[in-house]
Symmetry: C3
Subunit: 355 residues, 3 copies
Amino acid sequence: MTQFDIKKMLAGYDKKNLTIATVCSHSSLQIFNGARKEGFKTLGISVGEEKRFYDAFPLGRPDEFFIVDSYKDISRYASELQEKNVIVIPHGSFVEYLGAKNFLKLNLPTFGNRKVLLWESDRKRERQWLESAGLTMPREIKDPTKIDKPVIVKYHGAKGGKGFFIAKTYDEFIKRVDKDKPYIIQEFVMGTRYYLHYFYSPIQNNAYKLSKGSLQLLSMDRRDETTIDEVQRLGSIAELEEIGIHPTFVVTGNIPIVMRESLLPEVFRMGAAVVEKSLELFGGVIGSFCLETVVTEELKFKVFEISARIVAGTNPYISGSPYSELIQPDLSTGRRIAQEIKYANKRGLLHEILS
Amino acid sequence: MTQFDIKKMLAGYDKKNLTIATVCSHSSLQIFNGARKEGFKTLGISVGEEKRFYDAFPLGRPDEFFIVDSYKDISRYASELQEKNVIVIPHGSFVEYLGAKNFLKLNLPTFGNRKVLLWESDRKRERQWLESAGLTMPREIKDPTKIDKPVIVKYHGAKGGKGFFIAKTYDEFIKRVDKDKPYIIQEFVMGTRYYLHYFYSPIQNNAYKLSKGSLQLLSMDRRDETTIDEVQRLGSIAELEEIGIHPTFVVTGNIPIVMRESLLPEVFRMGAAVVEKSLELFGGVIGSFCLETVVTEELKFKVFEISARIVAGTNPYISGSPYSELIQPDLSTGRRIAQEIKYANKRGLLHEILS
Amino acid sequence: MTQFDIKKMLAGYDKKNLTIATVCSHSSLQIFNGARKEGFKTLGISVGEEKRFYDAFPLGRPDEFFIVDSYKDISRYASELQEKNVIVIPHGSFVEYLGAKNFLKLNLPTFGNRKVLLWESDRKRERQWLESAGLTMPREIKDPTKIDKPVIVKYHGAKGGKGFFIAKTYDEFIKRVDKDKPYIIQEFVMGTRYYLHYFYSPIQNNAYKLSKGSLQLLSMDRRDETTIDEVQRLGSIAELEEIGIHPTFVVTGNIPIVMRESLLPEVFRMGAAVVEKSLELFGGVIGSFCLETVVTEELKFKVFEISARIVAGTNPYISGSPYSELIQPDLSTGRRIAQEIKYANKRGLLHEILS
């Protein structure tokens, strides 16, 4: 990872004319809408041409499009974008399209701490981070002959959960597994899924206080995955596997949800522990992050993943969620990001939240 | 179909005192609420008596009730309703209660293009429309002995999906089918269901531009169907069929949902193609329409039906959706309809959006 | 049940400085938020210490914390709380933590009619109340050998549905049942679940009129229960039971939902009948209550339970629901409760809505 001097990058910027930019996908409507509400100019990076669907959403349309040949090329336009005083808001598709290496080398001020990528994208380091923070993750099964409870088998780098499968026995595992691809076997945790959308500010102390800064919970959702989440309309998975139909885990959308209030103390305990440990390990997971959890019958959380930036699960809440309404009306995660940048800019603290 | 001269119908109207009317059911609370927000008078057509539940919803209550003996009789009161300068907003129950023939003959200005009914209510023409627009529909299986994948069997005119069933083999089909009723056999598409709520304006160009006018996406939902959508709490469908319990597909409500942003370009491409083809075939599907889709594991859309007017799936969004909030705060489909009428009225274009 | 003279309790109160209080759990964020919107001071009763998560929700934070050693002890602090002019808003956890006996004896003005607890917490009286009001409840099966359709077996006092199970035959029943615990066997009603959130005011006549006062519908939700509501991702219940995995019915959260409008007349008919019967039996179920229903394939309601106070299913609607928006923008159940107290206070009617 190339280390940029963020202060140097910002030195040439016209701080009165910052532009919020992101790639035209994922949660860009929300990011542009939030930035607009906070008075920022916006810029949408798009391949080949302007995306026409923004015409139908005037309040989510960027002020300007920046057309590139390929997302991988964004780095080549860094100086041009610097002249526009661009601050980049990375989202899941941004990082995926650009590629982790290009993203880490991108010579543009970027919201959040880019170092988190090294911990989030490596399953072992992710586990080390979360478990050392005291969170419970699904057990890993090293030896497939030891499968005695339901497991989920995940291939490395499989996009959107494609190819993932569930096995209840070693026999089922052997029947399905593609041994040519690297995989991990994880305990399948029974329970209801909640995707928790946090926001950590290292520079504001007006929320759930941490050793440095404070933590908010802005919303939560449940991911909707094709085909697994509607497969029961046809039959049980075992019945379908028998006729050669295998469920898939490809994310297609998000459903709003709230959690019983008595679980919120634990939600904050977990979020706080993740942030404190991240401060120790790599300077902190700054801004939005999401814990992807299952709540078991004992009302315990098992965390199966962390996403260290804005997730698409925040999209149902473009004008506020049942949680963010308790902070401020009409507050989306996209708007919260813009507020953080505005707050930091006013106080000369941009270097604390950008990287 | 009797062709009315819409200009003649409107000639006698007091354009400063238009009244928005619909039948008291389906999405009428939303329609009255939207009309009220845009400053219209409202009138609720009800059988036998005022519906008392409106008393509990002052902002969704019509200003006036118009009591009829039977919905089939509405036509008889056309001249009385004309004197009240009534514009009718048809919804699914409106058309069903009145009957297609009566609806087509109704001598009252009606929002949208009534001709669409001839294309929408006939399965063959519906398929011709959508497939010639380039949309992918579930395959039809003519010969049941050829069933080699899951299929859904639909009886003609079955209300709310009653009697529909799923079969995975010819044997299952034969065991369940009632050969006395006409039916079709359709490929059962595996995936997650999204019901897409569009709005097409032939007279405004401020959204996703088409050859004439422009297109919006106002919201989306997932239909909730009894018993199929909670049947898994008891067992798999095959297990239940064995003990004589057959799932049904009767709509009871709607759940809010959003879709991953990367699918929106295709959502608009599909909506645009449907409108363009409708302009060619019968003068256009004007106003609200809904594509009922399944998203497969390849992230492709299969469209299993079109509803060519406001659907009940818009009811979760009476004060705006995650999509309409990007157009204007507090914008429901009911309100959008009222805005279209208001806009057309100001510019002398009512004949372009009514029939 | 000790009968307090509510007028005497209120006599010493400074009516210009009422404080809305509840236990810090369940729906307290909504209750404090609603009270704040109506201009009340708020007080949160908490065991041991302030709950830190409120720091993250400034608009849901109580103005003051009142720390107790144990919820069971709240009664001991009654006079101290009286000095603060406290009106208690009971929710499900409040009653559970305090215990029914302590709750009934609590010497503090309490929103709603405490007598309802005697009818709601006793399954027989609950059935008597609802069935004599004309509602249809799931059949009870006295003799397990007569099980010929799916049943659900519920243990008395099982918290959050723990231990409940479903059986389709007598054999399945015998295999699973723990005969040492008292249980009931209930018909398992197939259908989609809707939790209906009503508000009954005995002192305002501006909604759905009853013999005394009027009724509103503020929202509805579907409860999300671990593990039953995601169990289908793994297999059918029968398949899982075979490998020793038993689904549980522990509530973890709530999903927003709306119902087809044509069912609303029946929703109000049921709510009205429940209130009228309650007026007859014990002076009325005042304020919030919830009917927990299943809609069958014939579009009939079966009611499996009543909760006679604010339910956590109202939490998705902290800034309004698709139903309450038709009454007033930004109206949660918590806020509606505060409005009722404010209205009653202005007119000297507090004794009509408190007990």
